[in-house]
Symmetry: C2
Subunit: 151 residues, 2 copies
């Protein structure tokens, strides 16, 4: 079951400039930054709000680090802008199974590593009325209660 | 101050088919439907989650009702897909003032009626790194406590 808008993924030419735009215009701050070598992006996460499933909704700003990466080709073709949207679930494998029952095959086999240690997969825009759709399971450590020390 | 992702606006050719896609694939349900004559759209709102500012995040599915509407021209040019993103505030006029201080002029003068009685304005993609950005103030009645009857 999908329980939140996890993030909106925005392709940008220059991460620093775009982060500065969101800070200056709307007061949004970066809460996390990383390079995802597999996806070929340098990304910044801006937390916008908490959600009632105990997680959060973010903007994900993505600058390509290679000219042949998916995001670089997106910008070349369409310019900067919204690249994908992502919904969150506590059990993304079951959401994938439901999607497959509905006749949709994910773009990737199995789950990959997404932002902040999450597990993710993607559904092709041709299967989702033109929207590249990511399914996200947040890292369990993000909001889990601290374990008591071993006795 | 912007306190939530209010919605993601998705342009579609056929509202009924697209609503059915989101219901069948992800279990999302329509919580509101209306025609906005000014914007030239027939829209359905799907609530995805509640947000920690007391409001909600939605998908807004939009089918054009006129071939010359903005959404119809978007689909003609780019196909179905994400048309805009929207952030919510309890005081959208102050957010507009902040944006103007940052050098951004809204697309519309004053505020217009958005979904579910909200007040909205838009910032041009050329000012927002390629993203058509809507600013939303939810209708006060949506979550306001019931007024006591006059004594």
């Amino acid at each position: 079951m999908l329980t939140r808008i996890d993030h909106i993924g925005i392709a940008c030419r220059d991460l620093e400039t775009t982060v500065d735009f969101y800070r200056r215009t709307f007061g949004f701050e970066v809460c996390h930054e990383e390079v995802n070598e597999e996806q070929g992006i340098h990304e910044a996460m801006l937390r916008i709000n908490r959600t009632d499933d105990g997680e959060s909704s973010y903007l994900q700003l993505m600058e390509p680090i290679r000219p042949e990466s998916v995001v670089a080709r997106f910008i070349e073709k369409r310019g900067e802008g919204v690249h994908h949207i992502a919904f969150g679930s506590a059990d993304v494998a079951s959401v994938v199974a439901d999607a497959e029952t509905a006749g949709i095959t994910p773009l990737l086999e199995g789950l990959r590593r997404g932002s902040m240690g999450s597990l993710v997969t993607f559904l092709h825009p041709r299967d989702c009325h033109g929207v590249l759709t990511e399914l996200v399971q947040a890292a369990p450590t993000a909001h889990a209660p601290t374990s008591p020390p071993e006795a």
